[in-house]
Symmetry: C2
Subunit: 346 residues, 2 copies
């Protein structure tokens, strides 16, 4: 029997294609009808917050918007919501149930600002608080660890970015992602299986990225924590040099997420620094890492435009997580210590 | 001989008092002269970014502003800066040298927006790009691990919050912090020494907070990484339940930062959940933890208003870091693997 986790990872190309088909025109119309706004506020928890990290970069790059990652406790714990003048307000929640995310959107609506909800459930409280809803997945996610709903969130974020850019070419690029995802899943499978065998006893793996793939590092770290109880966290390459690089000693595994693009030179330089400290490198890229890095390569079999690369780079990270679970003889669908898929925070 | 780290931790009450004396009136005038703005953008790296995390909450609570944590690579790597219409733009850098932080302020100025710089060096590039400068510390920080410049940054953030609130009472509260800090350093010393002896062989310690003290958890995690090469990261109590709680197994040390205030109930509930998973609790609070938690208490000997609590709660975290370094026989001023105090990222 195949696990739900494995099935759901494999279903992503199809889910993404359906999402684009279903939601592209609606997003275009929603953005065309938006009132003037100067910046974006986005509220989310858990892996949904990593989709917001993607938004920080891609809504900036394609839409020239600054992005606030909302502090929902201002609304709930402290009952002192900020002013939303000038803002477009977005909520991201797979279940659409998270009361604190919903509270941010309800407050925005009270203040007369436009709201957008990204959720699996068009009947959820989040959807009811949203002027426009992007439905992420139409079939339920059964595994506790989110995979297809995460990439669906990224695609929804990309749709908004394309619409904000006003450039038709961006939509064309985005429509090619599902097919690329399919090639990447196939192309990375055996490398991920081999890497998992080698990393089976690693006590941690530190994922690092720069710029637009910071979300991928965050998501990879969360999967490792959820699925494997590995204590890890993501780092930005820029921040890592501010102190945390001291962690790197003999053989510490570091995953560099570095598809072709503007961040690659800096990531290569960091790779050499980590190698000089005897760290062990794993590289996720569409370019083979230079031999001097002595890295394990998890290849991206085809390239997508840099602004869409988080949709491709996360796939080997998911596969590596799954393969590590299997190599350790654990249950992919029932991570130890996690019961509920839906977490409600106030 | 006493280490610089120890001296600098001890000098904080005096540094904070001097900062308030020197900068209060200037901040008041700067804010009074600000043009209309709807939100704040803040750029920082490393521990300075934790001061921005404090700003997200306190500029929201006292100033009702949404706060963007800038993505400097939009300016440098991608050369595609966002529009700053409606923004007040703040840069935080101890040295004032970080080129990417400076780039954000220069772009804001180019777009005609007001800029504020928080830095130790009033002749630095950051200061030159700022309409108003808060000088953080007047005597140099010699230890690689930042302590007094971090609390000075928090105080500068608090000064801006008080000025944005327009309430004179906030300035009165803030002026009482240096004396409170002095009592807290004295009152926590022996508990921190004992805790360090017990935690000497811990392979990690996870700091968790909710709301306004999230910055304290982030700063504690960074000190543990820098000073001790402990692989750790901070969590928000709300996000921790989304998957990462699976990490907690027998005896895993978790530090709960929970001074009296709105977040305390939720932190207590999380403490019970962690206890039920056999985690070992360390509690930083001005209230003794309930016996059922079986926690090690790092006491805050006196209380400050909740909005200022990050200035008090970080002190036992710094002391614990120092005591762990001493217990392990390491050099507090030369953390292994860290050479440079000033890190330049592009």
């Amino acid at each position: 029997v195949t696990s739900f986790l494995s099935q759901e990872i494999g279903s992503q190309p199809e889910e993404l294609a359906r999402l684009v088909d279903r939601e592209l025109d609606g997003m275009r119309r929603f953005v065309a009808g938006l009132p003037k706004h100067d910046y974006i506020v986005a509220a989310a928890r858990g892996s949904s917050d990593h989709a917001v990290t993607y938004g920080r970069y891609v809504w900036g790059l394609l839409g020239r918007r600054n992005v606030v990652s909302a502090a929902p406790s201002l609304h709930t714990l402290y009952a002192t919501p900020p002013r939303f003048d000038g803002a477009l307000v977005i909520g991201v929640s797979q279940s659409g149930q998270s009361p604190d995310v919903v509270a941010v959107l309800e407050e925005a609506r009270r203040q007369g600002r436009p709201t957008l909800g990204l959720t699996n459930d068009p009947a959820s409280p989040l959807a009811r608080a949203s002027d426009h809803v992007v439905q992420l997945c139409t079939s339920p996610e059964r595994s506790v660890a989110a995979t297809k709903t995460y990439t669906a969130q990224l695609m929804a974020v990309a749709l908004l970015a394309a619409a904000l850019s006003g450039e038709e070419a961006r939509f064309t690029e985005l429509c090619l992602v599902p097919e690329a995802a399919s090639k990447i899943l196939t192309g990375a499978a055996s490398a991920c299986r081999q890497a998992a065998a080698a990393l089976r006893y690693a006590s941690t793996i530190l994922p690092i990225a720069r710029g637009i793939n910071l979300c991928t590092a965050e998501e990879m770290a969360l999967k490792l924590r959820e699925l494997l109880r590995v204590s890890t966290h993501a780092f930005s390459a820029a921040d890592f040099r501010h102190g945390s690089i001291a962690l790197v000693t003999d053989g510490l595994p570091v995953a560099l997420i570095m598809p072709r693009g503007a961040g690659q030179d800096d990531m290569r330089a960091l790779g050499r620094e980590i190698r000089a400290r005897d760290g062990a490198l794993i590289v996720i890229s569409d370019e083979e890492p230079s031999p001097e890095l002595g890295a394990t390569w998890l290849p991206l079999a085809t390239s997508v435009p840099e602004w869409l690369s988080p949709l491709s780079a996360v796939l080997p990270a998911q596969l590596l997580g799954l393969e590590l679970v299997l190599a350790k003889g654990l249950d992919p669908d029932r991570p130890r210590g996690l019961a509920d898929k839906v977490v409600r925070t106030l």
